[in-house]
């Protein structure tokens, strides 16, 4: 039972890298619930028919992506200094998850507006120059329409105002670029859409795509804290 009702809301920042990228969002939730439980620290549980440890992830990450800036909120029922809390939870997380910090939330997760990604990929069977040129042409257009599938149905969206894409470079056969995408609970653009737009435009399909989320921003433009 929740024997104390005065909880402290805590936001934990962590990274998700290596093999951990293959853990789906739902599975990450379960892994965190278990890790938090193993700390033996008292956390707040939901008060329903099936109580569970309350967790709120700011911005779900797709399966297969790595991240250097994930965050999760939960409610603490004890007084523990943030550094100690970060240490104790960090010790319980499986490999691939590393705690960065723990502390009081500064911003509302619902006010997240964008996120940065660093993306690399290869294109088997296409020349480097061709890919670079096609990329420049595709994303240099005044409008970048792409079909977005959601639970509600399909719609054509224009990526242009939603994505700030850096120049594409190539090193040892791996292409690399950075992108800032509109993200959050209101509007969210998955990096995969860029590749759909690209292959739809150029017929070139990228292979072995690696995505790392590097930063999350509040709507006021500051880093999400």
């Amino acid at each position: 039972m929740n024997d104390v009702q005065n909880f402290t809301e805590i936001r934990l920042f962590y990274t998700k890298t290596g093999s951990a990228k293959y853990i789906s969002h739902l599975d990450v939730m379960r892994a965190f619930q278990r890790a938090l439980k193993r700390t033996k620290i008292k956390f707040w549980y939901t008060e329903g028919f099936h109580p569970h440890l309350y967790l709120n992830f700011a911005l779900p990450l797709s399966l297969g992506y790595e991240s250097l800036c994930e965050s999760v909120d939960f409610r603490l029922l004890e007084e523990i200094p943030p550094e100690e809390l970060a240490k104790r939870i960090g010790a319980m997380l499986p490999v691939g998850f590393q705690v960065l910090s723990a502390g009081l939330p500064v911003m509302k997760a619902s006010e997240i507006a964008s996120a940065d990604y660093e993306i690399t990929f290869s294109v088997p069977g296409s020349g480097e120059e061709d890919v670079l040129a096609a990329w420049k042409e595709c994303f240099g257009r005044p409008e970048i329409p792409v079909l977005k599938k959601t639970k509600r149905g399909e719609q054509i969206v224009d990526l242009k105002p939603q994505a700030e894409i850096s120049a594409l470079s190539c090193e040892d056969g791996r292409f690399r670029f950075r992108v800032r995408l509109v993200s959050g609970c209101k509007e969210n653009i998955n990096p995969a859409l860029l590749f759909e737009a690209f292959s739809g435009f150029s017929g070139i399909s990228a292979d072995d795509i690696s995505v790392i989320r590097t930063a999350v921003y509040h709507e006021n433009g500051e880093i999400f804290r």
Partner: protein
């Protein structure tokens, strides 16, 4: 780790089945160990990771610093395609090294329909499937699990079987392997030595001869190999190794919880139930040991559910003290207790109260048969009064649904017995509405899960023919036509699956050819309905000159030599014959605690089962 390219994980569904890194998984340096052991489960990750025996043996083997035991599961179709197309071997989760790099490759044979899966996994790793084609000591293929009680259909493929419980014998064969490796033994040398270890069966050391009618004539052991091979048991469960932690998977698996084995064996002696005979004698673990094990497990895993497992949990003599020990801390720490395998005749009021406290899911009861005569035949000592009495208490306690387990095509069964299934379910429905204090405004739901009987070795029904598939299907339809309400739902197994299972359960060595043929022609993961290829199986029998009905649908005389008589599981054939005759006359046998039925298993234990 470098041998498996990252990109194949992006190409498959649920990559976390293969990528490892789960909490409590064990990674060692391969340079630091003498023996690398691949623990293979011939089914998908979700099934294999739910298996308690694998968790125990994984931890046990890894306790030895010189041994590294890793996990390998059958890949799903998409992963198999990636492996084959990219010329990659099946790999172990922890190191991602191909299976062929392992010294010992151990399979657990949980059910007959996994046999083709074993072949497929070996082949995916580039290891020859037949034991005679594996010449060296390396890649020694060993197997255990319930199917090791009649391993004959798999003897073409497996080098060494361990009938019985593995906690002692497995470290022994691994220790011998270390010695063999150090001293440079040949495979033959190792197998001859291993045959001296109690509870080890080396199929290459036995010749089987047959009568002209196809039945077994006899077994000829070579080099003083033991005949029969006696299964191993753990005498004192309180002292046996139990892991302090489990590997906690990321993905949702079939049984995703802490599991506590509270006892082995079963006092009941239901005559259809192989587990009730092959896991004898009954041995219990003390409540305080269990409470300690449970708390360790929950602490190290963070699991929010704890399941008390055994063949018949309510027969565990210390169940109430155990629950009394568990409930205070589990409630405080938000851990649910699940108590499966409850019998319906001894489900007391105070038990129900304790269980409803911790468990919010549905109730399941194994009634097993629809008429009293039939229940007496199978020695399921449960009456209709018990069934209704238990349901009454459940309904009064607020439950609105119950699940009843039944079996059809049992020996001596008539159509009246089959229809009794529906009648029993109807009585449960009627009972609900007759109770004034049933849950307000809610309809009752009675689910009947109806399995087809499969005769198994080491049971009193090992002599019995299985109903033909046509007869099984007729009986299923009979029930369906007798059903007139949506409050009862009916589900059953595919009769064709039960038929193949019956062939292999009581099969002999000659069936190895059919397993190989079926696998070569696409059979794999046969336990999954969407993979099961019945026509290929039938063709496999035809092509290899074997008659499946000879194995599944034939009555055996008591004096016939049965293929599994190579094994000694403690229960004597005389006892099984006595029980078979009692079954014919619908005479029941009291449970072991009330009165010893003289099954013979005391010889294994070296004393009576109960003081």
């Amino acid at each position: 780790m470098a041998s498996i390219p990252e990109k194949i994980f992006r190409m498959v569904e649920k990559p976390a089945r293969y990528t490892g890194g789960e909490l409590n998984s064990i990674v060692k340096k391969k340079e630091d160990v003498k023996v690398r052991f691949a623990f293979c489960f011939p089914d998908l990750y979700e099934v294999g990771m739910s298996h308690l025996g694998m968790k125990i043996l994984y931890s046990l083997l890894n306790k030895d610093d010189e041994v590294w035991c890793e996990r390998v599961f059958a890949p799903d179709v998409d992963m198999e395609k990636q492996l084959r197309e990219n010329g990659l071997p099946l790999f172990a989760i922890e190191s991602r090294d191909g299976l062929a790099e392992f010294d010992m490759i151990g399979f657990t044979l949980q059910y007959e329909l996994c046999y083709t899966g074993v072949l497929n996994m070996l082949d995916l790793a580039g290891i020859p499937i037949r034991r005679e084609d594996r010449k060296g000591l390396k890649n020694l293929v060993v197997a255990g699990g319930p199917c090791a009680c009649n391993p004959e259909p798999m003897t073409d493929f497996i080098d060494l079987f361990m009938p019985g419980e593995g906690e002692e014998v497995l470290p022994e064969i691994v220790a011998l392997y270390k010695k063999a490796k150090d001293e440079g033994w040949t495979k033959e040398q190792y197998l001859s030595e291993a045959a001296r270890i109690p509870g080890v069966y080396i199929p290459s050391l036995y010749e089987v001869s047959y009568h002209t009618d196809g039945t077994v004539k006899g077994f000829l052991p070579k080099e003083d190999a033991p005949m029969p091979v006696r299964k191993r048991i753990i005498k004192d469960l309180d002292k046996v190794f139990f892991p302090e932690n489990f590997v906690v998977p990321y993905i949702d698996i079939v049984h995703d919880r802490s599991m506590l084995e509270i006892m082995r064996g079963c006092i009941r002696g239901c005559r259809f139930c192989q587990a009730g005979f092959i896991y004898r004698p009954v041995r219990e673990k003390h409540a305080d040991t269990l409470c300690r094990n449970a708390h360790d497990l929950c602490d190290s895993t963070g699991y929010e559910e704890l399941s008390l497992t055994s063949l018949s949990t309510s027969d565990y003599s210390e169940l109430e003290p155990l629950l009394d020990g568990l409930i205070p801390w589990t409630e405080k720490e938000y851990v649910n207790i699940a108590v499966p395998s409850l019998r319906i005749d001894n489900f007391s009021e105070s038990m129900l109260e304790k269980i409803t406290k911790v468990r919010k899911s549905g109730l399941t009861f194994a009634a097993e048969a629809g008429t009293q005569r039939m229940r007496d035949v199978i020695n399921k000592n449960v009456t209709e009064e018990n069934i209704l009495g238990t349901c009454k208490r459940a309904f009064e306690g607020g439950y609105t649904s119950v699940k009843l387990y039944f079996m059809i095509s049992l020996p001596t069964e008539t159509d009246e017995d089959v229809l009794g299934v529906i009648d029993t379910a109807q009585k449960v429905v009627d009972l609900y509405y007759s109770l004034k204090n049933h849950a307000k405004g809610k309809a009752v739901q009675v689910t009947c899960s109806v399995a087809s009987f499969v005769p198994k070795p080491f049971t009193p029904f090992e002599f019995e023919p299985q109903d033909t598939m046509e007869e099984l299907q007729r009986k299923q339809q009979l029930m369906l036509h007798h059903l007139h309400t949506h409050k009862i739902s009916l589900d059953w197994h595919d009769a064709r699956t039960s038929f193949i299972e019956a062939v292999f359960a009581r099969g002999d060595r000659r069936l190895g050819k059919a397993v190989e043929w079926a696998w070569r022609h696409g059979c794999n993961l046969d336990g999954w309905d969407d993979h099961f290829k019945f026509d290929v199986w039938m063709q496999a029998f035809a092509e290899t000159g074997l008659d499946p009905a000879f194995y599944a649908n034939r009555h055996r005389a008591f004096d016939e030599v049965l293929p599994w008589e190579l094994m000694d599981y403690g229960v004597s054939k005389e006892f099984l014959i006595r029980e078979n005759e009692k079954a014919r006359n619908a005479v029941t046998t009291p449970n072991c605690r009330l009165q010893c039925a003289g099954c013979g298993v005391t010889a294994l234990k070296g004393g009576p089962c109960f003081e």
